[in-house]
């Protein structure tokens, strides 16, 4: 784990302790799968683990699995396990792209093209 200034930093928590030693989530999350947190009552936050709370805070704006991994400075596989578990518990929602046989559908491509032209 390396910062932009090149210093080594310990992550906030030991990645594989957090996931209970599991390295594979129950289902596969793509790096670009988008994650958003659901609104919780303030009391409910006390029931979350520290890493779950961080993810809840980060995903108040929609973020990809890759962003969560980068911002929490945990390996991608660890982020996938944490997020998959949180999705099962109903803490976060997952937003998958519209794929047609593994490829973005034409409507999505057209929207990307007009979005790029508007930039």
């Amino acid at each position: 784990m390396r910062d932009r200034d090149g210093t080594e930093d310990e992550p906030l928590f030991r990645p594989y302790a957090v996931t209970g030693g599991r390295a594979e989530p129950r289902y596969h999350l793509a790096m670009e799968t988008l994650v958003s947190s659901v609104a919780l009552k303030s009391n409910d936050y006390s029931l979350l683990g520290p890493e779950q709370e961080s993810i809840m805070m980060l995903c108040r704006t929609v973020r990809s699995v890759a962003e969560i991994s980068a911002l929490l400075r945990v390996p991608l596989g660890v982020a996938r396990v944490l997020i998959a578990d949180m999705a099962d518990e109903g803490l976060v929602r997952l937003h998958m792209p519209q794929l047609n046989q593994g490829q973005p559908d034409l409507n999505l491509l057209e929207r990307v093209l007009s979005g790029l032209r508007r930039l």
Binding site: P75, L76, P104, R111
Partner: protein
């Protein structure tokens, strides 16, 4: 985003990304490494592979992510994940070091992911023409070769537009497959 080491992939991503490019890391254990001989090593060895990426919000509910491939192609297991759902790939080339991008081109042809080749200029100078690069890389005639400048937002934006236009053409001409 693919291309040889030092060709400007992260610069290219950073030129249009709305966030500073971030780095995500995957941990590769000896079981998946394949190449390193760890048979005599009693401890399990892991390698960390980093991948830089940026983000572009195109609409309220549409976000485009740009991922840079890890340089060494033995780490391309990360790229296998990305090909599914990807729109296409930009192979960034320095025309003085064309051989650096052979592995990327082979990879995308094999994966049937549409790609274009973008020549990264040096101070606005291009030492070779599009045709010379096409010939040197033995590219099929339908694969676009464009000029770009990884430091320029407009140039990068226009490269991305060319890629999406190309992908739409490919889909129209060949159906779903490339």
């Amino acid at each position: 985003m693919a291309g040889g080491f030092g060709v400007g992939k992260t610069t290219f991503v950073g030129a249009v990304s709305e966030i500073l490019p971030l780095t995500t890391e995957a941990v590769m254990t000896d079981a998946s490494a394949g190449i390193d001989d760890l048979g005599l090593t009693p401890n399990k060895t892991t390698t960390t592979v980093a991948m830089d990426f940026g983000r572009l919000s195109l609409d309220q509910d549409l976000i485009l992510y740009l991922f840079g491939t890890p340089g060494q192609h033995r780490f391309w297991f990360m790229w296998d994940d990305l090909v599914r759902g990807a729109i296409g790939a930009v192979v960034l080339v320095d025309s003085r070091r064309l051989a650096d991008c052979f592995p990327a081109i082979d990879y995308f042809e094999e994966a049937q992911l549409p790609f274009l080749v973008a020549m990264n200029g040096w101070e606005g100078q291009f030492l070779h023409s599009e045709d010379e690069v096409r010939e040197a890389l033995s590219l099929p005639p339908h694969v676009p070769v464009v000029r770009t400048d990884a430091r320029s937002r407009d140039a990068v934006k226009s490269t991305l537009i060319s890629l999406v236009e190309y992908v739409l053409t490919v889909r129209a001409a060949y159906g779903r497959t490339y």
